[in-house]
């Protein structure tokens, strides 16, 4: 495989990784309203407001209180979206574990998309170049004058082949 082809594959892999990262991030953000949720699931999506670690890893009193709140709202039949909105109203957006999609946090969402776009363009350009070089390449390859060693090896190969015939 030529260098250009390898580069194309690498660029395509980078592009796919970028797209996959973006998709996973979008799914993790839980933007769609979902009725079925558990306290354990929500704990992984929330931050402890005092220690700024994920809620499921925090033993702070504030985190315990949010866990209690989640139990109460789940028993009341609240949707995931309702709970998230209520918690944002109480603690601000920092209570959500996902990176906010504004200000400096926006870079975390834009960079993967930019990487994906650049990777795709690079992959396309390299693939086109590779294809063009294949079509314009000569059918035979000039090897220049043969060395004594080459002539000797060819003669030996011919002799060997003749023995098998």
């Amino acid at each position: 495989m030529s260098r250009a082809a390898v580069l194309s594959l690498v660029a395509a892999a980078v592009a796919l990784a970028g797209v996959a990262w973006g998709v996973v991030g979008a799914l993790d953000s839980g933007s769609a309203p979902q009725r079925g949720w558990t306290v354990a699931e929500m704990e992984r999506e929330l931050m402890c407001p005092t220690c700024e670690t994920r809620l499921d890893m925090s033993t702070q009193p504030a985190a315990d209180r949010i866990r209690g709140y989640l139990e109460e709202r789940r028993a009341d039949g609240w949707t995931r979206t309702q709970v998230r909105e209520a918690l944002i109203a109480e603690y601000g957006e920092r209570v959500i574990a996902a990176t906010p999609r504004r200000g400096f946090g926006l870079a975390a969402w834009l960079v993967p998309a930019l990487v994906a776009a650049v990777g795709l363009v690079v992959a396309l350009v390299l693939a086109r170049r590779w294809a063009a070089s294949r079509t314009t390449a000569p059918a035979t390859v000039e090897t220049g004058p043969r060395s004594v060693e080459q002539i000797r090896l060819e003669a030996r190969l011919d002799a060997e082949l003749e023995r098998f015939e």
Binding site: P49, T50, R65, A89, E90, Y91, G92, F104
Partner: protein, 176 residues
């Protein structure tokens, strides 16, 4: 084409580096305010405009100018906050005509905060912060109390429960 792509990639990389550098270079307003208060530099307290917890409406720090103010950061789940509540209530009863007392509830659920205020019979103004004011004032735990003079400059800062004597002394330094 290759030059164009290389240029675009380098420009993107440079933009990212600049973004991170700006972010890292930005000072921490809260930490600066807190350390300046502790150093006796009388820094002007960061402004706030927060919804009231005890009644409808909002409260701005600017509206407190003209007389000393006690600004106490607290949360209902904080046991030391409950411990200091009697001292704050008593000080508010004693100096409330000549100084403003404000409780800034942060990192808390509003219903829990209101229940705390009822249980402890908190007589002064309570506001709700979603974290931004706590950060801009450099508050790292609860309770923390700042005492401001009539111009809104911080003359004292207490980490942990405050007592009546400390509040009285700080209010006198603030011009009471």
């Amino acid at each position: 084409m290759q030059k164009l792509l290389t240029g675009a990639a380098l420009a993107a990389l440079l933009a990212l580096i600049v973004l991170f550098a700006v972010r890292l270079g930005a000072g921490d307003e809260g930490r600066d305010f807190r350390s300046a208060t502790r150093g006796g530099e009388l820094p002007e307290a960061p402004e706030f405009d927060l919804p009231r917890l005890d009644v409808q409406g909002r409260l701005t720090l600017a509206s407190l100018r003209g007389k000393p103010a006690v600004v106490n950061f607290w949360a209902s789940w904080c046991d030391p906050c409950r411990d200091e509540a009697p001292a704050l209530n008593a000080s508010s009863a004693r100096y409330g005509n000549d100084a403003s007392f404000v409780g800034v509830n942060s990192d808390d659920l509003s219903d829990d905060a209101r229940a705390f205020a009822r249980e402890e019979a908190v007589p002064y103004t309570l506001v709700k912060d979603t974290g931004g004011v706590k950060r801009s004032w450099g508050v790292t735990g609860f309770p923390e109390t700042f005492v401001l003079d009539g111009q809104g400059r911080a003359v004292a800062h207490f980490s942990g429960p405050v007592n009546e004597r400390e509040l009285r002394d700080a209010l006198r330094r603030a011009g009471l």
